[in-house]
Symmetry: C2
Amino acid sequence: MVKLWEINLNNYDWKNNRKYETIFTLANGYRGFRGIQDFSKRYECGNFIAGIFDKNDAQVTEIVNCQNPLLLNIYFDNELVDIDTSEVINFERKLNMKEGVLYSTYSLKLPSGRMVKIDKERFVSRNNVHRYGEKIKIKPLNFSGKMFVENLIDGSVTNSTYDPYNRSKHIRVEKALDLKPGILLSTKTIDKGIEIVEATTIYAECEGENIFKSRKFSNFGEVSREVYEAFVKEGKEFVLFKYGTTFTSRDSNLDLINLTKVELDEFLKQGYEDEKQKHINVWEELWNKIDIQINGDEAAQIGIRFNLFQLASSAYEGDTRVSIAAKALHGEGYKGHVFWDTETFMLPFFIYTNPKVARALLMYRYNTLDGARKNAKMNGYKGAQFPWESADDGLEVTPKWGFGYNGEPIRIWTGEEEFHINADISFAVWEYYRATGDEDFWLNYGIEIILDTAKFWNSRLEYNKEYDRYEINKVIGPDEFHEHVNNNVFTNYLAKWNMKKAVEVAKQLNQINLNKYRALCNNLCLSEIDFNEWENRLNKIYIPMAKDGKLIEQFEGYFELADIPITKYDSNGMPKWPDLKGLKLHDTQLIKQADIVMLMLMLEDEFSDEVKKINYEYYEKRTMHKSSLSPSMYSIMGLKVGDRQNSYKYFMKTIYTDIEDNQGNAAHGLHAASTGGSWQSAVFGFGGFSIDNEEIPNFNPWIPENWNEFSYKLNWKGTELRITIDKEKVGVRADNDILVKIYGNKFNLVKDEEIFVSR
Amino acid sequence: MVKLWEINLNNYDWKNNRKYETIFTLANGYRGFRGIQDFSKRYECGNFIAGIFDKNDAQVTEIVNCQNPLLLNIYFDNELVDIDTSEVINFERKLNMKEGVLYSTYSLKLPSGRMVKIDKERFVSRNNVHRYGEKIKIKPLNFSGKMFVENLIDGSVTNSTYDPYNRSKHIRVEKALDLKPGILLSTKTIDKGIEIVEATTIYAECEGENIFKSRKFSNFGEVSREVYEAFVKEGKEFVLFKYGTTFTSRDSNLDLINLTKVELDEFLKQGYEDEKQKHINVWEELWNKIDIQINGDEAAQIGIRFNLFQLASSAYEGDTRVSIAAKALHGEGYKGHVFWDTETFMLPFFIYTNPKVARALLMYRYNTLDGARKNAKMNGYKGAQFPWESADDGLEVTPKWGFGYNGEPIRIWTGEEEFHINADISFAVWEYYRATGDEDFWLNYGIEIILDTAKFWNSRLEYNKEYDRYEINKVIGPDEFHEHVNNNVFTNYLAKWNMKKAVEVAKQLNQINLNKYRALCNNLCLSEIDFNEWENRLNKIYIPMAKDGKLIEQFEGYFELADIPITKYDSNGMPKWPDLKGLKLHDTQLIKQADIVMLMLMLEDEFSDEVKKINYEYYEKRTMHKSSLSPSMYSIMGLKVGDRQNSYKYFMKTIYTDIEDNQGNAAHGLHAASTGGSWQSAVFGFGGFSIDNEEIPNFNPWIPENWNEFSYKLNWKGTELRITIDKEKVGVRADNDILVKIYGNKFNLVKDEEIFVSR
């Protein structure tokens, strides 16, 4: 069933171009190409190379929109093939997720009456991340004559194309070269002078023979261009191949121009089809690890695959100096910055399906520790304070000002107040280590992160003498409707966890690896005195609670706010704004997204089923889901507390965030956290996977009525498990002997032998 | 009647954009701005500054399309005002020719539903050719909110935008500066490094108050940009003013950047309305000299004014190193090259209405004499051989290859064979001198041109011993259907005239100004021996004739070609191709354009009325009018020989060449020769103006039935004459005492006293 692997678009409306640029982005971790509409000038191009940031005159440091090497213009006797001026007779774009190839078919009637059929495909190689290719079949349907093909690399690209006031240019064109065949354009970023080299070449054949008759190279200021002339015949199809290669000074110290040229030559020698097949093979291997199969629910099947595809596309193990931005490599939204989204929402997918990538992502945090230390110093704290928004060096890059719904300037406080990111990262480090047992990472990098963030937290605590407790005041928790709040439980709980884990880890290290312990203590300026102090203090960190000791108060004073629960839902089952009766949002108990519920998922064992249920039910009625990070978490918790109907609704909402653009801003890039949330919702939610205090994999799956079979794979400490749930039973198989719990009962799995448990 | 001064366009179809860019071009002799459609991205911009040529990698030296300072983007809350994505509710563009102002009115509904009304005007100052301005009134009809205005100078402009293979870039961006307020972009041409500086600034006000709230400058590679932020209110109109100034290193040796900036400051200080009024005043003065009034025939009235307007716009007296290109300052057609079109078709208009401009145009030929001498030397001739196509230095720049109707390469021979240009220029020099008595020009420049072209002709003559005659073989006459012909009468006749005039002039000069005579002889290496030789030879130049001695044979052997006269005409009365029965065009007597008829107009007194009539009737049936230079000439000759019906038809065809795009290529620029032909057709044709051998102004007017009154002005040797023809009589008035002939009778006009003669 190819259909279950495809995202299709069957009609053309230029107004949707920017949204589909995101949906049809092809990325390989090294770079992302937005899926700009072929043969249209109405686009927001995107060539994002992971890790290339620049500020120049922009508000804050942002991901650089590099020179665009994807422009290819076709002219018949000087008439440009332009979909926006043509009659669109046939139109289909489909993202084949199994192959990682974007296919398009167009039948166009040009203003002159010329009719042409074009089949186009593109891949951005996962086999060799420096390569991408296109194959374009063109058939003149009712004419013969001259054709010109213009292959361009456009260095005039800016960021914020559609935001005139904030538009900013981050590259300076350095060289435009004729590679004969092929063209090259090299640029440098303004601030740091990172060199970016793009090279591309095309060739065309009909019945195996080259059809190009003449060629001209031009260097137009910021554009490198080659134009070919050919004669085409009515009814005769010919094929055009476009080869592209990319290198930057982040990749190599060698002569980049030569490197890119040689790569292009090699790619040409190897051939388009061969590279494409190798790319598909890598995707096959990837899918073998990450695929989630939902039999009986096509929408869910296609939707979950889209999320897995785009999330897997957004990272690779080849670079430990980059992470996944909130909008991944799919758009300029949030300036290419990395948030807690990566560690808290996306990372579990990688930890449990592709640990090498998870490690690379965490190494990004390790490699930006110096920036985090500078943040702490600048703010008067100690240790490492990770930035709320992170670019290439770990310094805080959250903008201080943004715009509200009515265009009014709004002060953004998250960069100064949303501290929980530090515990989120430490938690992720531990989660990775717990799942993989990667001692090398743990000893050499992981522990250092946990200790230095604990050191930060300790410096951040405020002693309240009256109550003899430690507080963390003036913060923002995950729920960003409420700013400058005191003692946000999520923050305090995780800060406590962070410090506790640090103390525990330090003690262990002291025991098992004294050298390492001493080196770390020396490097981080810590000693047993500190660990003791942390231990004493962390138990006094204040956690606000309702009087019954069960309903958690999101932050101190939250329960005193006006209580205006949600009562109405839209056609998608999502909450509608209640009447605030003139109150400001922050004066109500309405929250933007999962906060307490999020905490109870992260530290699952610390909360009883009853507490979970009470809190879920309370907060579910007050959560507006104005962040794409929210529905997936309610989906999972819903399943844990028995709210199955809402779980499915939240799950579908999550997996269709971008495809249906249900947050209204898919144009700005992928909702990457939501892709991670989709995986979590499937695996932690319906798949019922969790790790208990004994570090035993638990499976408590439940699947909706309309699902015939649901299966996924997991990697636990090097063992691959495959879980299959159908209407009657749960099947678990592993490639090693392993102890698991299914519906609370222990089972000793024998290598490659599937066991079945009735539901 | 404003309407009689306007060219209107009332509906929008982007497919017509390029055509109307030409029609709505505003030029002031110094420069031309194509009238690109406001708020559209579908344009071929044109900022042509007279005299700036470059070759770089183009086929031949061509006029440079300079950086475009006219781009102005308006965004409402980041939504671009784009006419091509909007619903066009109201649309009007009108060229007010009286004022030289282009007015536009748009009511647009943007994709978001925002409705906006925009009134725009532009003038390119004739008061100060370095200035242009725009005034834009904007009214948000159904919304309030943020607005951004982006003022750009785009240095990424290339030539041949719509010809991908031949696209070429002639400017290199040098500096993009923030003038605070205002922006500047300077470029240099590739070959000669001519510096071009454009500066522009905008301001906006509502009820007298500045509405801009913030501003940002950017230098995006080849673009200099300023963007302003404002808040606009529903129903509240505001006004935006754009000021622009331009200088090039052709204009001054001073610091150009400073010059342009200072000019901008002065312009701002002076104010938009004041400069606009001064510009209108200059046009009022101009119209007072050039206007032709046709009462009773609105189409003819509007049409003739369009031609006068655009021709007058294409030249000014301020630069003697430039002439008018075949497409004027209105497009890239014919690469901005100057042909015989200027001297033969356009110059009479200037000679008789604005002699200072005529002199400047002829000075261009004088100033390119060195190039002409190089051409002669290169081709093995003597004297000065003016190029068939001329750019900035008089060297031959005709391309050697072009494309036929089916895209097949075609060898272009005109640059090697169309010699008559040399006599055309000499004839124009003499015509100017005859009309103006400008002794300074004549003695210091004019005679030198006539002598040195005569020297060329003498070296070009081929002696035919058999017949003891001189021939000019392997030439192209005005009729370009026939190449490599021998003894084209037009060429031979004018060569003879040129040599005869040279001998006559030399003899006179010898008599009246011996010093000058000697200096010229010395400089041109001529002596009485040469003049005698020329005199002997010129009388033996062969002029092919029919046996009756009346019907002239266009060239030797022409009458032996297959005779396939035209029998069918299209709805505009223009000839349809007869059935060639497999013959090649050059094997038939069909001709492209006026050739013999043209000759008989230029040297009117040398042909009897009978000869004119016989030849007109013969050639009229064989002329396809495949050049816009043709119908006007047939119109004039038709009146002289009594073919009045065709005359009107040809006149209307001529004056509507561009407005109705009846040659199908108005997009490429103005048919400038045709504008000159329009004036000639009106004044020499219907106005019946001619100069006889005694150098007395003759008037033999005739006007069509539907014309109530027809009037024009003339300048003859410093005297301004006004001729008015109505249904009954001809009125002539002069601002000096002067002798004229009306319908063959002499009249001594007394200053400022109109005389009337019955028709």
